[in-house]
Symmetry: D3
Subunit: 326 residues, 6 copies
């Protein structure tokens, strides 16, 4: 990594800065900006020969990549675009990168809609879904089902600690979907009234595991026990190619104040100094594939055990490392 990096286009530098500063945020927005920046780099490249061009593109990708080392959508965007780089001459290479970025961005733009349409097809008129947390991918399935003229009801888990269920409930109410809000503890009791558990995903691993808001796995195990199918809505941006090489997804531990106020903590600890007392607040958990019936993406639905095939198709098999590595 000690080589001189080629000069990078200002679009790349700008996008990198904005992603790093979180002015650009959200999985899809980041991915879009990264693809756009690569296209700009390609279009304006002064590279003299194919090798130089390729090096330039790799450098641009590296620059963007390092802004958010744990994001999933960002490297997926870079992988997709660079995998489309093909040709014997600089103009061919340029054209291929620009086209690959365009394709990526076009699909990204359509992805949630397409995903929603596919997911909606799994829902039947009169169905009740149970939701966990807030996922625009999952909600898109409901929205499209409504557009198909289906009546859908929802049982919404509040999703402690941050109660994103309230956001889900609000969105569903805007669409006039009947909503019953319950605490997470009540989920099993209501599963008998539910036709589908419908959740999103933070990311999806090559072994078919679904990483999603903490509580998903417990819900899925109960849904299986109650005979209720579990459907995960996740754009292919959420596929996590690092996991193809065995990497596990690091689970973020969030601020304990989401769980407990200082006053509540003081009351628990009484006069003691708080040693021996801890709050743990993991953001996500891991649902094994055997508790998921289908992963719905914008490219079709898949059993979780075969999502690795799609991952390899879209982002390569990670053999020989990342496309931006020297």
């Amino acid at each position: 990594m000690s080589r001189t990096d080629p000069e990078l286009h200002e679009s790349v530098e700008g996008a990198a800065a904005d992603i790093a500063s979180m002015e650009i945020r959200g999985a899809a927005t980041i991915a879009d900006a990264a693809a756009e920046a690569l296209a700009a780099q390609a279009e304006d490249s002064d590279a003299d020969d194919p090798d130089e061009f390729r090096a330039e593109m790799r450098a641009a990708a590296r620059r963007l990549r390092e802004t958010r080392p744990t994001a999933v959508s960002l490297p997926n965007s870079l992988r997709y675009v660079l995998r489309g780089m093909d040709g014997e001459t600089v103009p061919e290479l340029r054209e291929s990168v620009v086209e690959s970025a365009r394709e990526f961005r076009r699909e990204l733009d359509q992805a949630q809609e397409n995903l929603g349409r596919i997911g909606a097809n799994r829902l039947r008129d009169g169905d009740t879904v149970m939701t966990h947390c807030h996922s625009t991918d999952a909600l898109s399935c409901v929205e499209k089902a409504l557009e198909q003229g289906k009546d859908i009801s929802a049982i919404v888990k509040e999703t402690r600690p941050r109660k994103q269920g309230h956001i889900t409930a609000r969105q569903l109410r805007e669409w006039d979907v009947p909503v019953t809000l319950v605490v997470d503890n009540a989920a099993r009791r209501y599963l008998d009234e539910v036709d589908h558990v419908l959740v999103g995903a933070d990311s999806i691993a090559a072994d078919g595991s679904v990483i999603n808001k903490v509580g998903t796995s417990g819900l899925a195990v109960n849904a299986r026990e109650r005979g209720v199918p579990i459907m995960v809505a996740a754009q292919t941006l959420k596929l996590h190619p690092d996991t193809m090489t065995g990497h596990t997804v690091e689970i973020e531990m969030r601020d304990e104040r989401e769980v407990l106020t200082e006053d509540e903590e003081a009351e628990i600890n009484g006069d003691a100094d708080g040693e021996g007392f801890a709050v743990e607040n993991p953001a996500f958990d891991v649902t094994p594939p055997r508790y998921v019936d289908a992963i719905v993406t914008e490219r079709g639905q898949f059993p979780p055990e075969s999502i690795v095939t799609l991952m390899r198709e879209l982002f390569g098999d990670q053999q020989g490392g990342e496309p931006w590595e020297e």
Copy 2:
């Protein structure tokens, strides 16, 4: 039921009034007061013949019974005392009732301690328990284990909506037990670090089901899936003899404000009138016996499938109705 009830002793009337007004409350306190009142009625009875005496006792029991028709411990106390009524003469009957009440109260006084000792025997030095809600019976097992010199740690679920986990955490911290507090959604993620799920019970049914704070059943299903044994601590007062005759336990629906503030609800509903939106807040749920490894009572531990045997032994088999019926 249209017959003239015999005159009741002031102790009975007093206890009935205090139970009805909830001045006397808590499962064990109510049961104790009821047994005491029956003993007072027996001791001061002027009944001329055995039939009159028995009628008087039945009337006293009915009076007490009707103050809280859905309580479990109250009728169990009455059943126990009246089942001990035996003899051919008024003095014999009186003596038997007084003795039966004394025995009941003595056992009740010892019950939690005995239960705790039995439950503690299931715990090993170094074990970690996961708790749900707040149960003095369950905590008694930990307390006795500590007294036995065992190191015990706890992962405490906060137990939405009322967060009784905080009370549990506080008690455990007073005993210097290391506590990790987690939201209910995080339970499955921490089960791999847990040696026992330890919960109490609101009541226990003849088919071996455990009725307890909502969320218990979902936790138990996950514990089974993770290979963690589930232990329910419940005094025999919690056994629910009505269920021997097939009655199901009515699940109380609590105030929705425990789940959602008015402001939160307003935000969800936006400008809409709230129709189509509901909060459901069940207090309890039902855990089938196949997800419970042992029910620990003050009279020993039992597989949930055989608790009905203990129920019949203590409170009769409900054939021929309740002992206080005419």
Copy 3:
């Protein structure tokens, strides 16, 4: 067995003859006749001493027993009555037998009603039950639920080969219960609409197994997989005390013509002689206790794993052999 049997009362001989010739038939009717005959024998006995009286009663029981060696209700009736035989003198013994027979018959008379009331308590207003075969015990639960003012619907499996589901459907229609009739193959598809699987039993074994119309076990396994509770309605007459000593219940193989007409068989075999082709038509199958949620009897409901306790209570523990053995 080479001793001279005492002379038997004509009631005993008459009942034995009628049971043998199947003029008396049906589990409850046989049991009632047997108890009545034993009472008659006791009342008219000329026995000079207690031993002679006891020998006479045992002989009467043996006589009745041998008329239908594989029935379950017949020996249960004899066991119950003889277990009640108690006393030091002939009059005491006589009185005890007569009383025991009276008690047995009184309870028998009430049993289905009591069972129905208990089973009905498990059903809730609006519930849908799925039935298999035709069982008056199971139907009694529905009848009592209707009397309790509950709305009950039914999905009725036709129950090949003999289609006793039609009889069930007819009875339910008489009570105005909405009925959907399906073939047995369609059961799993409709389980999601069902709140209880409700079946009777041919007999119940000490290990908690339920022997019932063939197809019950497959249904129960599917109901468990779909999260639907399974409820077996069976009077205690159906308990099979022989199984306490490990005996398995012989499954009757019925006429193949119930399954296949001669024409159908000819068509299958074509010109061949039929060797290599067989029809097997077992009447019953065995459902393990882990697929049954509750056995509802007239003496309360029990988890299947604890029914052996009731069996021992009612009919003894089979230690020292049958009460009628010399």
Copy 4:
């Protein structure tokens, strides 16, 4: 759909008419006729330019497609042939279509034999299979196993309501396979004697579900519980590409007279008017992939969770809609 469709070849019109009138019927026969018609259209096309040619082919495909909107094999045939259409000139395009149709038909012709050979390899000498319904694909596995010199026995479920088990039994008897016929209810009882459950499929969904004759799913759940592997024999024609986009397979409801004669129904309803009584007669049910061990196709065997990969390979990923859409 308001554009002028190009003129279609008489072969296309003829095939369309015959398919619509069901003169051409059976999944394979329809598929073959459709491919043949597309080839004829291609061979005789007068199209002046590639676009016109392509439009003509799409129109022909649409014409054929609309004759049987719910068939699976018909659109699969069209997809396969049109996916093979490739080239820059009309002659190239023509050649590619003709070749693609020829390939499709050649494979179709061999498919059942190839499938049978693959399935036979899973069977061992001396094995007993249990069959449900009648499937020539499933039977082909047995036939090839017999040709391999293996002894195979069969337990044949009669498969109410239409008793296609009789057809299966007859075929097996012609091959001299020992057959035991049982009612569907008896299946679980005989699973312990069975080495493989062997069934066909009506269609197979992208989430790995198997849609087959009603009763299959209940059998599969029981087979799993009994430790018996479940093998589905299905030509790739049965793969249902619509399900890649989330569509569920509509389950046909068949005539209630298959289940119940008018006389039987009258007897059930007695004097009542039949309101409140219904017969439901679904043709198929859905078996989740976790209850299937292998799907045997003419292109190899697959775990059900990976069949979507084959589906995408053969028929495209349904991105951008059907190949015949304008």
Copy 5:
């Protein structure tokens, strides 16, 4: 415990010494000797009053008890005999103890035979059993089945580390039972050929768990998965009443040389000093009740979940401590 113990009979002292020195060994032999000693103490007692007599008996029991604090059969013998002590006068008390001891010893003498007969009834002609370790109770079931004229075959697991399977195989061969010996690792592969898993027990806990030779639980889990019933043969002597009060059964860790020779260990450790390397050799493991179909005792067969009822019946409910405590 600081009181002067009454003088004990020489039989008691002798039995105590022989048990302590292991001259008397084996669960049944120890139990028999203890009961005999109590009877001798009772017969020769010079106690002046009932209280003195009772104190003497308790002292005798304590003396015997303390010789082998972890045995199960020894205290069970003492519990049984002392529970039979009843009466108002010394002669009555003496008579009751002598009779209780006689009854206990008579039943003990018959227990294995009775158990064998009951277990044999579960086996059918032609059945194959799989055995683990060596259990005379389990073998008694096979022996009685052979006496009933049934053909029984066996698959015998060698049962590392001590290979007691060889003893089982030898016994079965003496009875001419066809035996296939396999290593423990091969068990699952042969389960499909097995009709019953048949094992003994070291002890049985109140929660229905079976403590038996290490490897039993893994076998039972696999047998359940393969659909093979699991049958535990255990005389009631093996019931472990301490577990009623929650005590867990301490698992003996045996000599590592049973697992590994010194040479083998040296080869593993190479030149290293062996730190970081350990052999663990537990004698037993715990099988949860849900993996056991029936426990066969000399008093009948029981589902494991109801064995606690038998335990309470035979040995009391442990309320108020042990009968020998002051």
Copy 6:
């Protein structure tokens, strides 16, 4: 097969001879030698035209293939190289074969290292693995984890009959990994202390089954029941393409003397002639995919249900037979 085979290169004949005589042995070594031999044949070929060249290569492959008809790695090597044969002229064909062989050998050389790195990523610092048998692929995962600086402990099953666990233990000790050795029977008892079951594979079938040392499947079933993930480490050489066409993997039966010495056998049989006694010693067993969480190969990790996709990618789909067939 009656045609005259082309003359084969001495490298091919030499390799064939050495493989047949087992001078070349071990899955990877054989595969390497075969690829090298094919490259030599290609380089020195005098073929006049492409057809001749191809025939020569097929003949060389057949020659090599027939030396060890049941090996897995050998035909995989041949398939890989021949699938890379591509071109219109002899030089092109030659070049492609040489390059394909080079690629295969290069990957083979790296495979275990790559696999180890991928597997290591699944392990976390502080994890304990349980091993069965001895697998260099599995050990490579541990080795790489150690290189990543992770602390790993191991519980090593001895793996009767051949106790390859000792070899595993020795290797782990060399790397200073803390090892606890247990008999196979003790595995379930220690699963609660284990984070991963880590095993190799003898071969892997298209239906996702893992064929590995006997005992693997029983361990996997128990690991699933205990909630412990199961990870199989297997280079793609172990994929068994024959299974794509339904072939099952023949399980080798090994010498009974591995299980039982002659003396032990004599002792079991006593004076009898040994008829009726058998030892069965299967080398492997089959673990269904539902008990495996991930298969780790050098090309990434896969759920077992999708390994068929990789198999098809690397070795073709077996349509049209093997590449060496005429």
